[in-house]
Symmetry: C2
Amino acid sequence: MKKINFSAGPAILPQSVINQAADAIRDYNGTGLSLIEVSHRGKDFIQTMDQAVSLTKELLGISDEFEVLFLQGGASLQFYQVPLNLLAEGTTAGYINTGTWSEKAIKEAKLVGNVQVLASSEDKNHSYIPKAFDIPSDLSYVHYTSNNTIFGTQFQSLPETSVKLISDMSSDIFSRPIDIDRYDLIYAGAQKNIGPAGVVLVIVRKEALNRIAKKLPSMLDYRIHAANDSMFNTPPVFATYTTMLTLQWIKDNGGLAAMATHNEAKSKIVYDAIDGSSLFIGHAVKEDRSHMNVTFNIAKLELEDAFSELCKKAGLDGLKGHRSVGGFRASIYNAMSLEGVQLLADVMKDFEQKNS
Amino acid sequence: MKKINFSAGPAILPQSVINQAADAIRDYNGTGLSLIEVSHRGKDFIQTMDQAVSLTKELLGISDEFEVLFLQGGASLQFYQVPLNLLAEGTTAGYINTGTWSEKAIKEAKLVGNVQVLASSEDKNHSYIPKAFDIPSDLSYVHYTSNNTIFGTQFQSLPETSVKLISDMSSDIFSRPIDIDRYDLIYAGAQKNIGPAGVVLVIVRKEALNRIAKKLPSMLDYRIHAANDSMFNTPPVFATYTTMLTLQWIKDNGGLAAMATHNEAKSKIVYDAIDGSSLFIGHAVKEDRSHMNVTFNIAKLELEDAFSELCKKAGLDGLKGHRSVGGFRASIYNAMSLEGVQLLADVMKDFEQKNS
């Protein structure tokens, strides 16, 4: 039996993408060679990389004012690489702290230069998104984590500022349309909505790259990766190829508007199950709830194991919550079906009836 | 028809590894989930990572005095990360320049601290390995590129020094036994003898890590990766898994001594074809010839296209030489069979008979 995968990341991918990736491992594009043994300088892989870039631009509505890069090191390396490139000496970057991932980004940025934490949701275990706070207009950039996988919160509107934004969209990119004009840079580890672990997408405004005045280590220099079309060194071939397949799947399934509608419908099913229950309690405040990660606890702690057991029997996998919040977390990225989510809601209702 | 893959990297992998990798994409260890959608914190992947580490230690004869890490960014990021961690302020690192890859390593190290180039083969287009030169005894380390894929040269003996060595073994690790006592650190991009692109192996002496006095960016700090068993952030799951499979294949096929015997036998077949010919000319001097990459030119340049065509017809792929050397390059890593190499030698002999 194929399980239904609610893992936070690496996470569920479309079954058709999984099948195509497996096929390409045996024979890549009919070349008579495996995807994982061909030269990245060959015409097939150059075409794959080009497709990944052009699909990213098409889906997000990105103009040629931006570079689209596929790099290594995950969002975690971007926590350092972003300020190294874009936090100029003598300037200050603003960061919004919505939990674990923001905190890691802030920590690495402080190694590079001046950081001002503009707002934080730390006071309430990051169960909400900070809203009314001042943003100085002379900041280099304002950084925020678009969706927090651990606490299940998500920005539903953008911070009000004339300063260009930088966002870690690792866990909700391609789940809804974005307003690209507001950004200097967006980065996203692939292993949620994009593809397998091992590649990170970086979208960066060319004008921002032109402002870099420092000499940087080659592998940490966006300008070098841009000048080499993400092929300065051997790229993560398999992860890039599978990312391209996933982007094609998103396009074939209606693009970002369709993804957003689908994701809202899915999250509503689980949130309705929580709100209609006296046993399950949502962690995030309603207006900041994530459409990607639904976090909830059980009012009677002693029932946690029994609920886990019931989910397991129903083939629902990866629902254990992060230790910072406890309880449960249903990650319902693009590739999660409405049926999968409905099954979870049914199991929740069934469990409540038996235990109330 | 399955082609015979002589690419320099990404490169040939054992067919059994390719098959197992494709199977795991569909169902990983019978979990009912794909390898590329499971959590890296799950017990299956933790076991995969542990196996990759223990196989590395077993094959190379490495004691617990070393950390074995699987990271991202390839050898290219190591060019910077190595000196960032191990080139202490006020000290100097020695580098041996045997071509492109050494030059890149030297360039990045100079961003960090003092670098002394101890010897270079630049005067003869890197067709040899420098041998008699002085090595000061107070260097932080001596860095060399064990095998040069572009020029087809390989260190057949180690530099004479009491200083600990650091080696980029990207293109010949696991191809022969090594004397681990001589090293503080070894690194190797996976995409030749280890696995697919997207993961880099770093073996580092714990005592060397204890000497680091600087605060470093988390993702560039070996100590942080070591403390987290290469799981500080999401590792490149697929590339690490396939690496583990390849290491198991090496073990099942007799380990490094058997690999060395096999690789010597294979390279001898191609070098004999070159030496017995008046048409083909080897690039590297005989005593420094690589057992991994055989580089050669054709005396009559106008015959290059015809030879390429003949190879293609015989199903031999990836033989085009690097632009720095021109001509041809047969990369014959561990997974290349004796039969594949014999077929190349036969095509060379056939071509010579027709054209002399």
